[in-house]
Structure formats: structure tokens, C-alpha cells
Amino acid sequence: MGSTKLTGEGKRQITSFFVPGDIPDLHGMHLSVLDCTFSSLTRATLGFMRHDAMQAVCDQHASIATVLWRSTLIDAAIYREWVTNLGRRDAYAGMAHILCELIVRLQSMGLIEDHVAELPITQTALADALGLSTVHVNRVLQELRRDGLIITDGSRFHAVDWGELVRAGDFDATYLHQRTAKTL
């Protein structure tokens, strides 16, 4: 899943990715108008919960309300990291960063092992997430392969040199606030 915005000219910016287990629209509980679009970037299975039911659970269990609040705070931390990616990192670092982030997030959900991720995401979607042309995304992926950081096979990404990918992406998993991230 991705949250997306369209510019007046019709250019798409993907503003964040969501992996299985995430609650993309948690802010919708308290903000009645949706200010972005959520769209599936791959095949996805979605679960829906009524806001009033969520509110009732939160009213009854403060600890659940805290966990959900924490989740939206981490979403905000991810946005801050993406702003930095878009504004100040070059394409090579930005791409490495986004791959590191997806791998850590999928790994912390127990969905992948050994830094091998199934990411059936198009080069165009990566371009829209990084604010780059598709041709440049294609080039940067080629560079990451050439430098021995990743191996790709169709939609399968294998971070063969995790340490180097982390360095290239200027990636520090602290902003994801996940306990398991440290053990990677």
C-alpha cells in the first residue's frame, strides 16, 4: 500500500509505503477528511474497522490507545525520513535507504529472512516515491547491482551486502523504533 498525492499537473508523489500489519489510515480516526489517497501498489489484502468501534476499544483500554498513538508517531518519523530522502539525499542513497527501510519493516513483521524481500513494486512506483524519473531509478538500481549491494530477480530483492547497503543509504533504523531492528 502507498499513500499518494497528485500535483495540479497530475504528477504522482508516493508519500509512504505500508507493509502487511500496518494501519495506514489511523489518523482518519480523528481527522474526518482524508487529505491523501491510499492505493495498493501490489496485490493486497485489506481489513477494515469502523472508527466508532476503534474509538470504543481505545476508550476501554488506554494501553491500546497508546499503542495506536505510538504507531501514528512512527508514521510521522517515517515521513521525516522521507522528506530528508527527497530533499537532501542523492538518488543512489535515497534508493538504498528506501530498500533498507522496506527490508527492516518486512523483517520486523517476520515476513522475510536473510534480507531477501519480495517487492513486486514497479520502477515507476519507486520513481514516484523518490521524486525521480523512471529512467534514473532504473539506472540507480543498475548501479546498486553493479556495486554488489543487491541482486534482483524479477520482483525479488536480495540485499547481499547489508552493511554496505546501510552505509550507502545513510540508513539508521532508529526512526522506525522497532526492537528487532537492532538485531539485524
Partner: protein
């Protein structure tokens, strides 16, 4: 839709595209190449007189369809003056 390949680089190094991009015809592929060249320039252009950056479009059969290139020419003021002398 057809798959086009976008090789890119400068005079010294060429990065061959082994994956390609699906484009809706050559016009679309040309637009993509142009955007790619703008990004490449932003990232790779250095203060190097004569540096050339390019993107070349190939089709699935390896046939070259188009080449977009630009080069940098720098001339320092005092050098210009001495050239005139």
C-alpha cells in the same frame, strides 16, 4: 506497450540497462529518456570541461533508437582573455 532499454553514462563509463522499462511507444520512451537525462545531469555533472552525459534508447532486439546527450564546456575568464591575445 513495449520494453525499451536505457543505457546511460559519460565518455568513460557506460551503464548498460539489463532490465528495461515498459513504455507506450517510442514517443513515450523519448520523454522518459529526457527526464532521465535531467536527473542524470543533476546527479553526475561535475566541473569537468568537456564532460558528456548521455542516454541511449535500445529496443528489445538491441537496435539503437535514439541518443540524448549533452556536454559541459567551461571557459575561465582569464583563459578567455589570453586566448584573445
Amino acid at each position: 506497450m513495449a520494453r525499451y532499454f536505457f543505457d546511460s553514462g559519460d565518455r568513460d563509463t557506460v551503464l548498460k540497462d539489463e532490465v528495461g522499462i515498459e513504455c507506450d511507444g517510442i514517443e513515450n520512451a523519448r520523454r522518459e529518456a529526457m527526464q532521465g537525462l535531467i536527473d542524470l545531469t543533476r546527479e553526475a555533472l561535475e566541473d569537468l570541461n568537456g564532460q558528456q552525459l548521455f542516454i541511449e534508447i535500445r529496443d528489445e532486439h538491441g537496435e539503437k533508437l535514439a541518443r540524448f546527450s549533452l556536454s559541459l564546456h567551461t571557459q575561465l575568464r582569464d583563459q578567455e582573455a589570453s586566448d584573445l591575445r
